[in-house]
């Protein structure tokens, strides 16, 4: 560990099609603030050199940008990623490593942690600097969001955390900021991968990714039948939102499992969650109650969804939802 507060803070900058994801930019912004509080440095670590927006990473707060000799960004390269991140961390000894809680956070990051003999605070929703103890305090939900925990690393370094999408807002770039670009060449052939990608099947039905969406429109059993999903799908469309659902519509085959939100489905934490005809069972709340604004539309004033809603509307979804879609369409042209 270095003498300064947290040591270097690394943010794994995740790319899709050569561009860094918004969630990674937001994380770099948060890391910048932490680094300013404790006089540390921020590094963005790109797992691929084919990054079109590397300069932008500095503008958003990175002092240094590592460009790893990376494989195809959207492919499957877990074994190489793990090896490269571990080697780099052993060489440059960061005090903190941050990543989003998506695909990498569910496979590569925990493996890197074990190889570096440290732990992971997973799915965090906030990160704060404890100046007295010079440690990071990561806050994460447990028990389906009905409980929060502050997690700390008393001794082990680096402190590794994965962070939920939308935990932080993407900041404004400062084009005057310059970062040092560091190319890292690894001998790819030295990695004997024990896994191999054989085929990719793209799922085109899901236009907006549920777990990354800023807005989620959710239709529950209150929709009554498969055909009625069109009503919520239209609202999702005008809002540029992802389409979610509760478990019964999936069980009844109205909509694929990929859309299910909840304990046995996806966990989402968008800026806006609109629940239409959803009762709000604990298993459903487990997947969405950390959303920033929750709108509930339900004809039953006693439905538990209203207990977590920011705005509640008691009424018939078949009247309210189409009206909402219509008015949004009018103003958006």
């Amino acid at each position: 560990m270095t003498a300064d507060g947290l040591g270097d803070i690394w943010v794994i900058a995740e790319q899709r099609n050569g561009h860094t994801k918004a969630a990674s930019y937001a994380l770099i912004g948060r890391a910048r603030k932490l680094a300013d509080e404790c006089q540390s440095r921020v590094a963005a670590v790109c797992l691929s050199q084919g990054v079109a927006d590397a300069g932008q990473l500095a503008a958003f707060g990175a002092d240094r940008v590592y460009l790893l000799d990376g494989p195809v960004p959207d492919g499957w390269n877990d074994d190489a990623y793990v090896k490269e991140l571990v080697d780099l961390a052993r060489r440059d000894k960061p005090g903190v490593i941050l990543a989003t809680s998506g695909a990498l956070g569910l496979s590569v990051i925990p493996r890197v942690a074990v190889a570096l003999d440290t732990g992971v605070a997973a799915n965090c929703i906030s990160l704060d600097y404890d100046a007295q103890n010079r440690i990071l305090v990561q806050t994460r939900p447990a028990f389906g969001g009905s409980l929060m925990a502050n997690v700390v690393f008393p001794n082990k370094r680096p402190q590794i955390a994965t962070v939920r999408p939308h935990a932080f807002k993407k900041g404004e770039p400062n084009s005057a900021r310059q970062g040092e670009m560091i190319r890292v060449d690894f001998d790819r052939r030295s990695v004997t991968a024990k896994t191999k990608l054989l085929n990719v099947v793209k799922d085109l039905t899901e236009k907006v990714r549920l777990d990354e969406a800023e807005i989620v429109v959710c239709g529950g059993r209150g929709l009554g039948k498969a055909e009625n999903f069109g009503i919520v799908a239209e609202l999702a469309e005008v809002l540029g939102a992802a389409l979610g659902t509760s478990r019964p519509p999936v069980d009844d085959g109205w909509i694929p499992y990929a859309h299910q939100v909840g304990q046995t489905g996806k966990t989402v934490s968008p800026r806006l969650y609109i629940a239409c005809g959803v009762a709000g069972a604990p298993q459903h709340l487990a997947g969405m109650q950390t959303s920033e604004i929750i709108v509930a539309i339900n004809e039953d004033p006693k439905a538990p969804i209203f207990e977590v809603a920011t705005y509640g509307m008691v009424g018939d979804l078949f009247k309210i939802v189409p009206l909402l879609t219509k008015k949004l369409r009018e103003t958006r042209g």
Partner: protein
């Protein structure tokens, strides 16, 4: 194929309470059950065993009471179960949990495939599977929704990726975690329940596993829970009154004000 399934015993209800005096989880008297996502791992393990004429061993780390969940797993069709239990394991984080599981798997002998659930409903990290793979020094594939082919030296699995699905070949031995889409778990048979009742479920402690108590439990875990608290609700819900038209107008007004849309 020698299959190992890692299951966790969790509170049966996810509504939990904090003991107002100690500020810690009030877990006393709560019913416990197999972590629901682990039932899919268990079912898949049993199916693999049936197809390959192999063996399924179920492992759990927990208190003496976790024995019940292991017996339940035998009721579903697992062949053997081992309880990993020691006061030293209490308060283990995901790193320490995977460390103990790795030691137990190595001790239990030769294995081909380890199956984990996607995540536990209490801890909710999804970290134990991949950490276990690294601790064992074997490959890992996350979010498997179908096993396409079971070979001698490798398996082919379909996994859910960001953009859809990926077909991956993994060398054995290895670890995978599975999602709910993979199967529909069976109901334990009457015969299975009888077998479960009589089954011998050995208990392995830290010493038998060759684990230094200092590196596990709350003392040895890399991460520590410094505090638990109830999330702050942003005040009471605001119910929008009036007819649908006026409700919708009010909503749009509020969402625009807060720049949510």
């Amino acid at each position: 194929m020698n299959v190992i399934v890692c299951i966790k015993q969790v509170p049966a209800k996810i509504k939990i309470e904090i003991d107002p005096k100690t500020g810690t989880l009030a877990s006393g008297g709560v019913d416990r059950a197999i972590n629901p996502p682990d039932l899919y791992a268990l079912e898949e393990g049993i199916r693999i065993k049936e197809r390959t004429k192999g063996k399924v061993t179920v492992l759990t780390i927990g208190p003496a009471k976790a024995d019940e969940s292991l017996r339940e797993a035998i009721g579903y069709g697992a062949d053997e179960a081992i309880l990993l239990s020691d006061p030293a394991f209490e308060g283990s984080d995901t790193w320490a949990t995977s460390h103990v599981l790795a030691k137990a798997i190595k001790k239990s002998g030769q294995f081909d495939l380890v199956l984990c659930g996607k995540q536990s409903i209490d801890g909710e990290t999804g970290q134990v599977g991949p950490m276990l793979a690294e601790a064992l020094g074997v490959p890992f594939v996350s979010l498997v929704n179908k096993i396409e082919e079971l070979g001698q030296i490798s398996i082919k699995v379909m996994r859910m990726s960001d953009e859809g699905h990926q077909l991956i070949e993994m060398m054995l031995p290895g670890v995978i975690n599975v999602v709910k889409e993979i199967n529909v778990p069976r109901i334990p048979s009457l015969r299975g329940l009888m077998v479960a009742k009589k089954a011998k479920v050995p208990v392995w402690n830290a010493q038998e596993l060759g684990i230094d108590p200092a590196v596990v439990g709350s003392a040895g875990s890399p991460t520590r829970v410094a505090k638990v608290f109830f999330p702050q609700r942003p005040g009471k819900s605001e119910m929008l009154q009036g007819n649908p038209e006026s409700q919708v107008d009010q909503l749009l007004e509020k969402l625009r004000q807060t720049k949510a849309i």
